[in-house]
Every structure is written in structure tokens, then in C-alpha cells.
Amino acid sequence: MMEEVKEVTSTLSVDGHNIKVTEVLKDGETLTFLIVSLKLSSTGEYHVDRTYDDFEWLQQHLFSQEDVPGIQGVIFPPLPAKAQVNASAKVMKQLGFLGLEDWQPYSKALETFLRQIATHSILGKNKAVEIFLTSSDPPGRQRVRKNIFNRLSQAVEGMRKEGHKDVDEFFQTERDHNLVLAGGAKTAAERFLDVVQTEQKIAVACGHFSTALHLCVEPGEDLNKQAFSKLCVKLSEVFASMKKNITSVAENNVSTLGLGLDLESRYQEAEKEMLFRRTCKLVELETARRNAEKAKPVKKAAMEEVKKAAETEFDHICGVAKEEIARLQGARVEMLQQALVQWCEKQLLTAKESADQFNQHLQSVRGMAL
């Protein structure tokens, strides 16, 4: 299977900007995502259903395109962590925003992932993408071997290599900057998640209060009692609309800025990984150079060759990485801007609606005879 994929370089037959994850199906423990993409050649759509395993298969294939020069300089679009039905608290924490609201944000994130890959100048050309998007057979149902890019290995080597002094000042600054940004984005996303979760709690509390207010409604002919009952009902309505308000505020938060911050945070991680891979390469190259210098004449030529190869690869990686970084910069600013603008607009709308509603309530309470 791997072999067949490696033939590569076919152009994608679908519109990369028009990939949608339309539905999430819960089948026992597994989640299945329905993916719809527009055909480029004719009018028509591909409908495929994919599980998380399929996504992982895709990502692994993209990671392992060893014949593409400078592939290690690519910032791979980040695949969200595995979603689980009845996920543990730890997994949920890892998922962050994506775990909220019945997987809607999650499918949104997957959608973004697919779009990023399909429109990527290098990755989009991979055959695996085409298969993933169009083949009616789910491709990823057998386990793939984790390759060198897997995160575990990174963690082990990370400590040693992350602090490695860079030869290129651009990359040195980028690495430092990336560290700060990744940290900042992660914290911001987490804090924002806290906000959203509290808002949800408030919504629930408002709902409870609204319901409980109905308890205070007393039957009876007595005027005062009726007035009080009416007030309680009214107040209950007020709290119901307050609940609605805060619920939609929370939703707005998640669907715009929440997702944006989450993506930003994951992209920073992806960039960090890329930079790390490059650093690894750099270390490798430096070792090769040293070896070539120290090498005995017998091995000198071989060592020189290794060094050369490493140099070329490193140059490729650097070239791709620079491009990728520049692209990412533009993309993420645009993405964040959109997130902020949408967020702001949605919240504005919600606030206006709520203000309207509150105003109506206020008028009707004022109009109550007492």
C-alpha cells in the first residue's frame, strides 16, 4: 500500500477549498465523519466516511514522503488529537475547545485540516490525499508503523536538541519566537476555554433558576398572589432569555475565536515540530561535517558524500521551511483576523438581540399592574 502511494504527484481531482465535514456519526466508541468534496472536473460531489484512524493514516503518509526534497521543512497541518466518545477528563482537556458542543468544533477542525492539506503546494500533490478524499474504501483501517516524526521520539530528543544553537539567525529568532508564541497561544486558548466553560455553567445556573421560579407560582384568586406569580413567571422568562444569551455568547466564543486560538496554538506546535526537525537535521549535518573532517583518508570520501547529502537536504529543508514560515505567517494572521472579526460581529449581534429582549422584558414588567 505504501508503495503504491509513493508514486505520488497526481493533481487532486477535488476543490481543496470546498471540502466539508458535514456530519459526525457516533457508532459505539468510534466517531465517523462524513466528508463531502466538490469534484473539479465535473459537477458532483464525493461523499466518503472516515474515522480518526483514516485521518491518522493520511497524516502518516504525508509525513513519510521521503522522496520529496525538503519535506521535513514542511509545516504539516496539525491533526487534532483523537476524539473519543465518553472521553476521559484528560483527553477532554487535551481536546480543549474541540471537545465541546457535541463534536461540532471538532469536525470544523478536521475540515480545516483537510483543506489545509488539499491546498498545500507540496502535500496536496500526494496520492494519499486523493485516496482519502475520493476512495469509497476507507484506507486507514490497518495500523501503520509510526515513523520518525512521531511525537514520542521528539520528546526524547527534544531536551537535548531544542537548545541547540542555530547557524542561521533567521531560524534562531523564529525558533525563539515560536516558543513564546506557542506558549502564549496555548495559554490564551486555555484561558478562553475557561471563560467559555464558566459561561456554560452560568447558562445552566440560569436555567435552573428559571425553572425554580415556577415553583413560586401560587394558584389563587388573591390579587397580590396573582401579581407575584406573574412576576415570577416573568422573571423566569428573563432568566430563560439570559440563559439563551449566555449560551449563544459561549457558542460564539467557541465557533470563532475559540477555534481560531485552538488552531493557532496547534499550528505553532506544528511549526515547532518542523523547526525541531530542521534542528535535528542541522545537528546531523554538523555531525557529518565533523566526521568528514576527522575521518581517516579511507573513509574520507564516503564521509564527504554523507556530508554533501546532508548539506543538500538541509538546504532543501531550509528553503522549504522559510517558505512555509512565511506562508504560515500570512495564513495565521488572516485566520486570526477572521476569527476576531467574526467573533466580534457575532457577539455584537447576540448582545443586540439580548438587549432587545431585555428591553422587552423590562417594558412588560413595567407595564404590569401592581
Binding site: 398572589k225 428573563v238 455584537l348
Partner: protein, 810 residues
């Protein structure tokens, strides 16, 4: 036109208030028990009749009578001036003040007649006890006055018609007070004469007025006296009036003279006199049952023309209706209902002093009854009316309002009811006192530290010396006030608003003196609770009159409240719980006769449960809100950090703007949390406390019931003993036993009355409580919504300001 608004506050609030309370008690009882009232009536009527010649009256019954006339006196002057003013100037400023004045007047008046001849102490006792204690002496004296005066005038009558009229009036008054039903001997004989005299009387009003005007120095006392004089001493209105007035003035000189002189203007004086005459007319018409309908008609005609005159309008009006009642022509009565109701008010006030100040709140029910029964026979009606009116007397302004309303309108019963409601509104509005508790300040150090609050009162009520005044009070003072009030008013069935509990934990934090947010929050919550507590107290019409309340609001230094320890935190709750337990226990024992109370108690208990649940919910909501505010703050911080790390200048700028927006939002969330706390959490906590107080009032009712039952049991035992003694034939002991039985019978009656009274009060209070609750809730909800709306609008502003920033990122 000078109004009575300038009247100065009563010089001796304590005693007066006490008196008012007492008189209230009397009234309440009477109104409660119709039978008793009837008896009293009958006896009273008899007494005056017989005593026209022989002034000595039976001691026990007259006691009531004694009480009545004075009250009558006060009622009349007050009501009539107001009503007449209303006629002349529909919009009178008097409304608010008159009620207070009324109280004062009542007190003074009550004292005055007695003082005239009887010893002060006796009077006071009588006033205070109000029950059967009434002394023989005062009553006799009273009768004496009546008698002697009445006897004296007849001679004058021959010479002066005017004089006679007044005399007659006086006698009538006494009779009326006792009962309208029985036509007095004089009345019968003089019925024809009276008519003529009545005309005379009207004409004579003018001279009197002139006199009063000329007597500028003591107009108040004079006018005030006049009624008194006329009624009691029955001297010639014009020339003689001066003398008696002075006499009375002397009586009042020590205490009341300034009060009267200041308070009364000549105008009001005039009106009083007029009104006095008006009453006379009424009486004249009302009493002679023997008067034929024809006569009545005649009289009416006479009256009507008079009516057109602004001055005597009241009188004539009153005359008309009364007349109607008398001739036993119910049809007329109804046709003239509008008029009738008005007179009935006055009428009652004249006739029935008993209920007097007490029933201010009972107006509605009683009133309704009264109107219904207007169609009935005159005597009965009048009594009823009295009852109904008397309450209105205490709420003088509202009464006047009704009166004025009634007159222009051809009143139907429904309208009356409507007016009653308005009356009530006005009554509530009239308590224009606003209190604020501000500037909590920690005084002292360590565990001896305490919080002091600035209590500022703003009022238009003349019972206070100033319009605004501020005192410093510490928390235990508030508790002390509550203790005093609940001790005094609790047993009567009043719902005394409870202050916030002592909180050892909260206060300790404050004492330890960390200026953290929780202790600031605690202080603020408590401050709010104290303010609402105080406002509730002064919104209560009866509690506002309490001297302790006034002292609390006005006096610079308050004696240190002691033993508030009992009210501290857990102790307070325990107390309430104990009361609740007692109530429930008693309910089991008590065979509840009144379904209303049974239902109410259940209601109170269930709404207590509901409120507790709501409180828990609101509190969790508040917790979440606070959490949200914290989280927003930390999000703002992390956004700021992200912004500062950002390379892209526009994005960086937008992010730091966002951080600012979030900071502001944190503020909003915080305000919202406070809003939730103060609009709902605190309100609900208040109501849980208040429901405790409501239960307490139920408890007091039970206690009254218990006392009554116990007394009955004792009485039963005494009777058994008597039977045994009778059987054993021991006459000497039998006498003792009989005395004891009489004593206990009286006690049983009294306790029963007490119970009825407490029941009525509790009922009223609960209704008032519910009304207040609904109102208060509405107010709070409006407040809350306004805040909510405001914060949404603020939010909109923030978003609108941020949107361009976000769009500017390129």
C-alpha cells in the same frame, strides 16, 4: 388658605404613641366584635338618655362611652376640616400631614376631656387600659359635664336658638356616641324645634367663625376647644365659646398649648366649627326617629341650598344622607349613595370614637361592609359605618380623598371599592420617609472593633424635626431596635421586619482587618441589608409611629443596646426555628377555626422552602459569575501577553485592544455578579428572614389563642367550683366564687378579643406583606433588568469599538 401642614411635631411623642396604640386597641376590639359593640351601644344609649337629667352613669359601661366621646371629638375636627378643604380645594396639601396630626390630636383630645374634670392619672390609666379599667370617676365626670351642660342650656335655649342648637347637638352627640338608634327624649320633643334651630345654627356658624378669626392668638386652641365645649359643656357658641375654650386651653397649657396654637390655623378652625355644626345637623336629623319623612324632606331642602355654599357643604351633605337613613327610606339612601357614603364617614367618626385610630388598615374590609349595610336600618348602619369610618379616621388624608371623590360622583358600591383601593395607595404613599445606611466604618481595633453606619433619613413628615438628618449607628443598635420593636409589636400580631443576623465569621474577618474582597463584600451586603431592614420598618405605618424608631433615626446618642448577643447568628436562627416549631406544634393542638390561617401557614412554609431553593440557586449563579469575571481577567492577561509577543503589528495591536476589552468585560461581569447578589440573593435572603417574622406573627396569634383557651379552662373550673359550693350551700364562699367567675369571664372575653384582634392584625399584616412582596419584587426586577440592559448596551459599545480594530488587521 392655610393648611395644617405647618403643624409642629408633637412635643411628647412617647406618651402619645402609647395612647394611639391604646386607642387602637380599643377600636380593634370593638370592630371585631359586633355583639359586644352592640351591647355597648345599647347601654351607652340608655345611659345618656337617662342621664340627661341625672348625670350619674353606670360605671362600667360608660367607660367605653367615655372613651368614645373624646375620640369623637378628635375625629370630627380632623376629618371635617380635611374634607371641607378637599371640597374647596380639591388638591390639598394637608393629606400627608393630617394623619400625623390626627394622632396628636387624638392623644391630646383623649386626655383633655378627662383632664377637664378628672384626675390626669385616671385618664391615662383609662386610656392605656382601654379595656374595662375605665374608672368610675372619669366617666361620671364626663357624664356630669354632659349633664350639667345640657341642663344648663335649656334655659338659654329659650332665649337663644343658637345656643340651644349647640346644646342639643351636645346631647345628641352623647347619644350618638352611644347609639343613634334610640331617640333621645329631648330629640323627640325638640325635633321640630331642632329644625328651626338647625337653620339658626347654620346662620350662627358665621359669627363663630368670625370669633375664631378674631382670636388669632389662640385660634387653634379655640377652635379645638369649641367642639369640645359644644359637645361637653354646651355653652353658647359665640360669646360663651371663648370662656370654655380658654379653660381647655389651660388644661393643655403645660403640654399642648404650643402645639395647638402652632398647628391650627384660623381657616382650619373655621372649618372645624363648621364641621361641628355639620355634625350637629346630622345628629339632629339622625336621631329623631320620630321625625316624619316630610320633615326630613324639608330639612334636606334646607340643607341642599346650604350645600351649595362651599363652607357648609360638609354639613349639609352629611345632613342629607343621615336624614335619609333616619326616615327609614332605604330607597333614598341608595339614590344618594354618593352623598351617603361621605356622611357615613363623618357620621361614623362622630358617633363612634371607639375604633378610632386603630384600624387604619382595616379600612377596606370594614368599609366594604359599611357600604353594603348602608341600606339597613339606621342604628345598625351607623354603628357599622362607625367602624368603617374610624379606621379611615386614622388615615385621615385618604379619607378626605375618598370623600372628595365620592361627592362629585354618583357613587355606586363598586366605585366605593375602587376608592378604597386608592385610599390605600395614598396611604402607602403618604409614608414618605427614605432612609439610607451608608459609609460603614470600622471603629476600634482587634476583637473590640465594630462597624458603624451612617443612617440618613429624608422625610416630609412633620413628625420629624428636620427634613434630613443623619446619625451614626452601630450594628448592635439595629438589633436593639428590632428587639424593642418585636417585643412591643410582635404580640399584637405585627410582622416586625427582622434585621440581618449577626455573623461572627464575617465580622471576625472584618475585625482581623484584611481588606480583602470577601470582607468588603460582607460589609457591603450587610450595609444593604440594614438599609432595607430600616426602610421596611419605616414603611410600616404602625412601626413608624413607634417612639423607638424615631429615636433611632433622630437621636444623636443612643443608649448602648445590650443583650443583642441572643440574636447573634446561630442564636437568631435558633430563635426563629423555635418559633416555627412552636407554631407547628400548636397548630396540631389548635383546632384551627379559620381556614385562612391554616392555608396561609402552609403557604408561608412552602414559599419558605422555595425561597431557600432559589437562594441556593442564585448563590451558585453568583459564584459562577464571579468565576467568569476571574477567568475573563486571566484571559485578558494572556491575550495581552500574546499581543506583546506578536510580530504582526496590526495583530499585536488588535490583541492588546482585545485585552483591554476583556478587562472591561471583567468589570461588567463583576457588576453583574454584584447585581445578582443584591437584586436577588439578598432580596431572597430578606424574604426568608421576613417569612420567619411572618411565622412569628402566626406564633403570637397562637399564643393569644392559647391564653384564651387557658382562661376558658380556668373559667370552667371556677364554674365547677361554684356549682360545688352551691351544692354544699356555702354562701360566703359562693360570693367569692361568683366574683372570681365574673373576673374570669371578663378575662375570657378580653382574651378572646385579644385573640380576635391579633388574628385580624396578622391577617392584615400578611396581606400587607404579600402586597409589599409583590411590589418589592417588581421593583427589584425592574432594577435588575435595567442593570442588565445597561450592561448589554455597554457590551455593545465595547464590541462596536473593537470591530474596526479587528478589521484593521491585514
Amino acid at each position: 388658605m392655610a393648611t395644617s401642614s405647618e403643624r409642629s411635631p408633637p412635643p411628647f411623642p412617647d406618651s402619645e404613641d402609647q395612647d394611639v396604640l391604646d386607642s387602637e386597641e380599643v377600636g380593634g376590639r370593638d370592630s371585631d366584635e359586633e355583639d359586644d359593640g352592640d351591647d355597648l351601644f345599647m347601654s351607652a344609649t340608655n345611659a345618656p338618655l337617662t342621664e340627661m337629667d341625672s348625670p350619674l352613669s353606670p360605671a362600667s359601661q360608660p367607660s367605653e362611652v367615655l372613651m368614645k366621646p373624646p375620640t369623637d371629638l378628635m375625629d370630627d375636627p380632623i376629618i371635617e376640616p380635611i374634607s371641607s378643604q378637599m371640597e374647596n380645594q380639591p388638591v390639598s396639601e394637608v393629606v400627608n400631614e393630617s394623619s400625623d396630626d390626627f394622632v396628636d390630636l387624638t392623644n391630646n383630645l383623649t386626655d383633655s376631656p378627662d383632664e377637664a374634670d378628672a384626675a390626669e392619672s385616671a385618664v391615662e390609666d383609662a386610656a392605656k387600659d382601654t379595656t374595662e379599667i375605665p374608672l368610675d370617676e372619669p366617666s361620671d365626670d364626663f357624664v356630669d359635664i354632659f349633664g350639667s351642660e345640657t341642663e344648663a342650656p335649656p334655659e338659654k335655649v329659650m332665649e337663644e336658638d343658637v345656643a340651644e342648637v349647640t346644646v342639643e347637638a351636645a346631647t345628641d352627640k352623647s347619644e350618638v356616641a352611644s347609639s343613634v338608634t334610640l331617640p333621645p327624649g329631648d330629640g323627640e320633643t325638640g325635633s321640630e324645634e331642632e329644625e328651626e334651630e338647625e337653620k339658626e345654627a347654620k346662620t350662627s356658624t358665621d359669627p363663630i367663625i368670625d370669633l375664631s378669626e378674631t382670636q388669632q392668638l389662640q385660634p387653634a386652641s379655640h377652635t379645638f376647644v369649641d367642639p369640645l365645649v359644644d359637645l361637653l359643656s354646651d355653652s353658647a357658641p359665640t360669646a360663651d365659646a371663648k370662656i370654655p375654650s380658654r379653660a381647655t386651653v389651660d388644661l393643655f397649657e403645660d403640654e399642648g398649648s404650643d402645639f395647638f396654637t402652632e398647628s391650627r390655623q384660623t381657616k382650619s378652625a373655621k372649618q372645624q366649627q363648621k364641621s361641628l355644626f355639620g355634625e350637629l345637623d346630622e345628629d339632629l336629623f339622625g336621631e329623631p326617629l320620630g321625625v316624619t319623612s316630610k320633615k326630613a324632606v324639608n330639612v334636606e331642602q334646607k340643607d341642599k341650598p346650604v350645600k351649595t355654599k362651599a363652607a357648609t357643604t360638609d354639613v349639609s351633605n352629611m345632613g342629607g344622607p343621615l336624614q335619609d337613613i333616619n326616615p327609614a327610606e332605604p330607597a333614598d339612601l341608595f339614590s344618594e349613595e354618593a352623598v351617603a357614603t361621605v356622611p357615613s364617614i363623618k357620621n361614623t367618626s362622630t358617633v363612634n370614637s371607639k375604633t378610632n385610630g386603630v384600624n387604619s388598615e382595616e379600612e377596606i374590609d370594614i368599609f366594604a361592609e359599611a357600604t353594603v349595610e348602608l341600606s339597613l336600618d339606621s342604628p345598625r348602619d351607623e354603628r357599622k359605618k362607625d367602624v368603617s369610618d374610624t379606621p379611615s379616621v386614622s388615615a385621615a388624608p385618604s379619607l378626605s380623598a375618598t370623600a372628595s371623590l365620592v361627592k362629585p360622583m354618583p357613587a355606586a358600591l363598586e366605585e366605593l371599592e375602587e376608592e378604597e383601593e386608592e385610599e390605600e395607595e395614598e396611604q402607602e404613599d403618604k409614608f414618605e420617609v427614605f432612609v439610607s445606611v451608608k459609609d460603614p466604618e470600622k471603629i476600634g481595633d482587634g476583637m473590640n472593633a465594630y462597624m458603624a453606619y451612617k443612617v440618613t433619613t429624608q422625610t416630609q413628615l412633620p413628625m420629624f424635626r428636620n427634613k434630613t438628618f443623619t446619625v451614626r449607628r452601630r450594628f448592635s443598635d439595629f438589633l436593639g431596635l428590632y428587639e424593642k420593636l418585636s417585643e412591643k409589636h410582635g404580640p399584637n400580631g405585627f410582622i416586625v421586619p427582622p434585621p440581618p443576623e449577626k455573623s461572627i465569621l464575617g465580622m471576625t474577618k472584618v475585625k482581623v482587618g484584611k481588606d480583602d474582597s470577601s470582607s468588603a463584600d460582607f460589609v457591603e451586603r450587610r450595609r444593604g441589608a440594614l438599609e432595607r431592614y430600616l426602610q421596611r420598618v419605616i414603611n410600616h405605618p404602625s412601626l413608624l409611629q413607634d417612639p423607638d424608631v424615631r429615636e433611632f433615626l433622630e437621636r444623636d446618642e443612643l443608649p448602648r443596646a445590650v443583650s443583642t448577643q441572643a440574636l447573634s447568628g446561630a442564636g437568631f436562627l435558633k430563635m426563629i426555628n423555635k418559633a416555627t416549631d412552636a407554631v407547628s406544634k400548636m397548630t396540631i393542638k389548635m383546632n384551627e377555626s379559620d381556614v385562612w390561617f391554616e392555608e396561609k401557614l402552609l403557604e408561608v412554609e412552602s414559599s419558605d422552602q422555595h425561597f431557600r431553593k432559589l437562594l441556593a440557586l442564585v448563590e451558585s449563579l453568583v459564584v459562577h459569575r464571579k468565576e467568569l469575571s476571574l477567568n475573563t481577567a486571566s484571559f485578558a492577561k494572556s491575550t495581552a501577553m500574546l499581543g506583546s509577543a506578536e510580530d504582526n503589528t496590526a495583530l499585536s495591536r488588535a490583541l492588546s485592544q482585545l485585552a483591554e476589552v476583556e478587562d472591561k468585560m471583567e468589570q461588567l461581569h463583576q457588576e453583574q455578579a454584584a447585581n445578582d447578589t443584591f437584586s436577588f440573593a439578598e432580596l431572597i435572603a430578606d424574604y426568608i428572614r421576613l417569612l420567619g417574622a411572618v411565622r412569628g406573627s402566626f406564633d403570637h396569634r397562637m399564643k393569644a389563642w392559647q391564653r384564651w383557651q387557658d382562661a376558658q379552662a380556668v373559667l370552667q373550673k371556677k364554674r365547677e367550683t361554684e356549682a360545688k359550693l352551691l351544692w354544699a350551700n356555702k354562701p360566703d364562699k359562693l360570693q367569692l366564687a361568683k366574683e372570681e367567675i365574673a373576673e374570669w369571664e371578663a378575662k375570657v372575653t378580653q382574651y378572646e378579643r385579644d385573640f380576635e384582634r391579633v388574628s385580624a392584625t396578622v391577617r392584615k399584616e400578611v396581606v400587607r406583606f404579600e402586597k409589599e412582596k409583590a411590589r418589592n419584587c417588581k421593583r427589584e426586577i425592574i432594577n435588575y433588568l435595567e442593570c442588565l440592559l445597561q450592561s448589554q448596551q455597554q457590551l455593545i459599545k465595547y464590541w462596536e469599538a473593537f470591530l474596526p480594530e479587528a478589521k484593521a488587521i491585514a
